[in-house]
């Protein structure tokens, strides 16, 4: 009979890099392989990550398939499972099921400019896109990354900003809700900052991820800036237990976020009820 779809593959933690006080990037390799192994994913997909004995939760993949040496998950310590994961150490084993869900339409976006708008831990799936497009730099036009967090200490992936900005025609715009003595950058909410930067919608697709309230106002701002609903792409978070459309809790209207999402264009979202 067919394989049990609830059985995780075991993976070993190679390193744990703290990003902020409560976010850590877990770098894992699938057991029996020297990296991502047969875990073939695309930017925007998620996995069900397990700590056996504690549970399982859907987590965005923050690494890019263009770098198959390992799979990375950037996880905020917020619930029981994520707290358990944060207490692990390198060489501990976790379970992984997936990859699940759809992905960002990076092939369709070739030849276009990209506007990436993230907030807080929402940068995690966008980081997969960032490395993916940087590794395929010739295929895309101008890349603008607008990213904000509550405070300078809550900015994730700070050690990578230099690498991103060194690439031609890539600009990173940072903002924080509340600055401190050392912060020299912008202070303000992401949607406001976005409007100030005033990116052109011409030949540009925007991808946004962050807290639901931020996404809502970013979408409003993008519309004001003239982006069409086909060119506003977001990725949604839901409680997804099975990841495969069976357990029945992640639906928005007749769409299952785990199967039909998590990536949606605004046009698609406008056609379904707004739970």
């Amino acid at each position: 009979m067919s394989e049990n779809i609830y059985l995780p593959r075991m993976a070993t933690i190679q390193s744990m890099r703290p990003e902020t006080i409560d976010v850590t990037t877990f770098r894992v390799t699938i057991d029996g392989s020297d990296g991502a192994g047969k875990f073939e994913y695309k930017s925007g997909q998620f996995a069900e990550v397990s700590l056996l004995g504690v549970g399982e939760a859907p987590i965005a993949i923050s690494s890019s398939p263009t770098r198959p040496e390992a799979i990375e998950f950037s996880i905020r310590r917020v619930g029981e499972l994520t707290t358990g994961l944060h207490e692990l150490e390198p060489m501990d084993e976790i379970g992984i099921r997936g990859p699940f869900g759809n992905f960002f339409p990076l092939e369709e976006m070739e030849g276009q400019n990209l506007l990436i708008v993230g907030g807080g831990i929402g940068l995690s799936p966008l980081r997969s896109v960032i490395f993916n497009v940087l590794d395929n730099r010739g295929k895309y036009g101008k890349i603008d990354i607008i990213y904000g967090a509550r405070s300078p200490q809550d900015l994730t992936f700070t050690s990578e900003y230099k690498e991103w900005q060194e690439v031609d025609n890539v600009r990173l715009h940072l903002t924080v809700d509340r600055g401190d003595e050392e912060w020299k950058g912008n202070v303000g909410l992401v949607p406001t900052f976005l409007k100030e930067i005033n990116p052109s919608p011409e030949n540009t697709t925007s991808i946004t991820c962050g807290p639901p309230i931020m996404i809502k106002f970013v979408i409003e701002a993008l519309r004001e800036l003239g982006f069409s609903s086909e060119h506003i792409i977001t990725t949604l978070e839901r409680r997804m237990k099975c990841g495969v459309g069976k357990c029945g809790r992640c639906n928005i209207g007749s769409k299952h976020v785990c199967l039909d999402g998590p990536v949606f264009t605004l046009k698609q979202l406008e056609e379904i009820p707004s739970d």
């Binding site: 049990n4 059985l7 237990k241 357990c247």
Partner: protein, 347 residues
């Protein structure tokens, strides 16, 4: 094969003995009288009752158990785990006494558990199970299966149909699996006497007056009602107890969780309910369906629209259980009537 699938009869006094034999050779699940009549595993025919219009719980637990171990795990010497799968879905099973509504519900659940990702736990049980239906010749006030094109006297969704025609049961196999089982126990079955069809027709009088609602285009009629105040009025009544979802034969939602002891544990799944706030609550504290209005709206939209959008069928079989067991009399037939008559939109 043709001669093997023809109709037979079994004398009523031989039924217990047949069930004894089935219980010996198969994992037999049949209606049992306890505090109420429900499907249980039985070891002998004498445990089985046929005195019910319908069981309190449907037979869905024979395919999607209330709790089910998905796998076990053990900590190994290093820092890893060893995983062991569980294979109780491989035993041959017979479900006896299933009504046409519940049989149809399995066809609906198949659509969920099959597909791009195959749920082998459920599908193995379906494949290893022979369904023996029991035709209805009586109905409860809450029954409305004809609404969904179900004939309660038919064996459309079972392997074998038993029809009680007085002193004997008419026995008809409608699949190869059913015919095989009848052949295997052929000593219990005899030739028709000739009056069976006439007796069956006469018994159908008990089904007169059964509720049949018009659900044509109901999915389209639901669409504009999303967010309507109508759902506030339903949500105000709802206690959020979840009984509707537990007794519903088409509700299939489940949770997955771990139990752990020092050296290992297991991951299991268990029935869950969209009526509970935790169902959609995320660790961040966000809850897309935080109030009761949103939850009852979800339940009825899933039954009457979303499932239809995904799979082309409405997710209700008219068994009436949710009406009968709801402590505050929320009645899906009333909701269907309010939606189709336009009353739901005008509140």
């Amino acid at each position: 094969m043709a001669s093997q699938t023809k109709s037979r009869i079994i004398e009523k006094n031989k039924l217990t003995e047949l069930l004894d034999k089935l219980a010996q050779d198969y994992h037999l699940i049949a209606p049992v009288q306890g505090n109420n009549v429900s499907f249980r595993r039985v070891e002998s025919g004498s445990e089985v009752t046929l005195d019910y219009i319908n069981t309190v719980l449907s037979s869905k637990g024979a395919f999607l158990p209330q709790t089910e171990t998905l796998f076990r795990f053990f900590r190994d010497d290093s820092r890893g785990f060893r995983i062991e799968t569980v294979n109780d879905a491989d035993r041959e099973q017979v479900v006896f006494g299933i009504r046409a509504c519940d049989a149809r519900s399995l066809r609906l659940m198949d659509m969920v558990f099959d597909g791009q990702y195959k749920d082998s736990c459920y599908l193995n049980r379906r494949e290893k199970t022979t369904l023996i239906g029991l035709a209805c010749f009586d109905h409860a006030e809450t029954c409305f299966c004809p609404t969904f094109g179900i004939d309660p006297t038919s064996g459309e969704d079972v392997d074998i149909l038993f029809s009680d025609i007085g002193d004997r049961y008419l026995v008809e196999a409608s699949t190869e699996k059913g015919a095989d089982l009848l052949n295997r126990f052929s000593e219990f079955f005899t030739e028709l006497r000739g009056d069976e069809e006439q007796l069956r027709e006469a018994r159908k009088a008990g089904l007169e007056g059964m509720k049949k609602l018009d659900v044509s285009n109901i999915a389209d009629k639901m669409a504009p009602l999303y967010g309507s105040d109508y759902w506030d009025s339903i949500g105000m009544k709802c206690l959020g107890c979840g009984i509707c979802t537990y007794v519903c034969p088409t509700c299939h939602c489940f949770d997955i969780a771990d139990v752990s002891v020092d050296e290992g544990g297991e991951r299991f799944r268990c029935w869950d309910s969209c009526m509970f706030p935790e169902f959609t609550l995320m660790a961040s504290g966000e809850n897309p369906r935080a109030d009761r209005k949103a939850r009852v709206q979800q339940r009825f939209f899933d039954k009457l629209k979303y499932f239809h959008d995904r799979y082309g069928e409405l997710a209700c079989v008219g068994c009436g259980r949710c009406i009968r067991y709801c402590p505050v009399n929320i009645d899906i037939t009333q909701i269907i009537e309010d939606v189709t008559s336009g009353k739901a939109g005008n509140e």
